[in-house]
Subunit: 345 residues, 2 copies
Amino acid sequence: MNKLKIVFFSAILFFLWSCSQPKEQAAGTEQSGTINENPLPSWNEGETKTAIINYVNDVTNNDSKNFVPVADRIATFDNDGNLWSEQPAYFQLFFAIDRVKAMAGQHPEWQEQQPFKAVLDNDMQELAKHGEHGLLELVMATHAGLTTEEFETIAKDWLATARHPKFDRPYTDLVYQPMLELLKYLQDNDFKTFIVSGGGIEFMRPWVEEVYGIPKDQVIGSSIKTEYEYNDGNPVIRRLPAIDFIDDKEGKPEGINRFIGRKPVFASGNSDGDLQMMRWAASNSLESFMLYVHHTDSVREFAYDRNSHVGRLDKGLDEANEKGWTVIDMEKDWKVVYPFELNEN
Amino acid sequence: MNKLKIVFFSAILFFLWSCSQPKEQAAGTEQSGTINENPLPSWNEGETKTAIINYVNDVTNNDSKNFVPVADRIATFDNDGNLWSEQPAYFQLFFAIDRVKAMAGQHPEWQEQQPFKAVLDNDMQELAKHGEHGLLELVMATHAGLTTEEFETIAKDWLATARHPKFDRPYTDLVYQPMLELLKYLQDNDFKTFIVSGGGIEFMRPWVEEVYGIPKDQVIGSSIKTEYEYNDGNPVIRRLPAIDFIDDKEGKPEGINRFIGRKPVFASGNSDGDLQMMRWAASNSLESFMLYVHHTDSVREFAYDRNSHVGRLDKGLDEANEKGWTVIDMEKDWKVVYPFELNEN
């Protein structure tokens, strides 16, 4: 339930969040060469890029003592804050809040019923009083009851129309260009890439194939329970108002074991919620690579780490430094953050 | 718990089962051409083979109104009785019984404690008295407590040494040659093939890659709960004595939704436990293909259907006939059943 607590506080944060932050300013980028010549064109030369390329060259070299057979080339990526942004709050929370507002017409009782009233009144101080339980009520009311097909349509429609409060762009524009290149680079080297996220599995699946080139069946996430209904010969799977699995912290290696059945050799995350996944990959008897995204760029994205309520990176940062895992300094290591910056130069 | 009931009764059946059945006799096979020229060489010409090939040609033809995009080419296969044999009892039950015997030395109390005593005494009448609960005790005692790595080693070792009571061969020899060819044929046509079995997911994963060419992460099965342990920096995942998920009947479409996230266009099974999966595939808006294996061959394999306690095919057979799904008549449609027959001709 820690994830929910974090999500909840991120909601509060969001509504208290002043719009005083500087508007994004695309960094100068020098796109030289094609992907084929330079697999990571949006990465600045330096230790981080070199470490990634050296690792891939090493484990895909048949003559290397560190050679990793193709079947074992499993790469796992957190999503929120690792492949796309997560500030000022997890994007899925914006979805839940928008759903409450969209559904309010069919729920006149919400006008007087907390915590829905608080959302409808934009009264986050009131919402805060309802704590985790209140947030859970929001998620269940907006994410359950529907069939999986209905939910997919609603999530897709929302993603097509909703806009990020800071960038005023669709949320799916806010994926990290350097990470897209890293995914492609690994896929080209016969790594099977998976998303392993605390976010909802059915909130991610509608768009990950198109945006990340990752098939739906290679997405692991948090889930609510479901139930098959025969429905007079038109079977559906209905989403139930009960938590099935929280894919965060210890849940990440458990989910990896359940869905993938082997340890990753490459793990990438950005928060303490990814630390168990990192340790799981680090314990692989095959040569493995652990990669943390450190949010250091207050101009192009957001800068946060040890004290953030969303995506806190504290113990993970200490352990990465102690164990020599690779840490991306977003400000220093990335030429651009978002794909749209490529068109602005 | 129906699965457990079936497994339990199959145990009883096994021990009551007389060895009076005729020894297998390899049918004459005429292997002509290579896999490339004839993708299903162990299938006799006829309606079944033609239906499969026509379907694949149709949905992979860009000009067909039934064309299925590659991302949607999801094929799901039951395992027990569909890709390998399941008589006289599910092979995993033989494993559990052998584990009780192997572990008895560390459990002197089992000499007097039911239902273990019944297994050690080969007293299946006594075991029967303990019903489902007794079977659950056997499975939990033999499948839980270990780390996932320990369990994988034990399952692999067992598969390498244990022998089927009728055929006196390793269990992994008892896979169906025609189904191996079908898997390969679909894979060659860009179908992503998944196992969706009531069997234990971690009992299957150690061998499916080598035997079926199906990666571990494309296996869905029943599971027990697990727990991540940091273990002083050498993390493990420990198997707990509690059911997590039964991947049978309604569980199959639920498991498919959870693990794959899209409906199959091709579903293959052999029992009423697969019927919900068949209906799920049949409800696909894309052109889909439903394939039942009907065990009609008492000479080369086993003949059973409506009255069998293991792999009962009753309602499924009626619905297949009613809806025009394809039903394999093993005796008529398959030139050989097992791969080893190829070497005997």
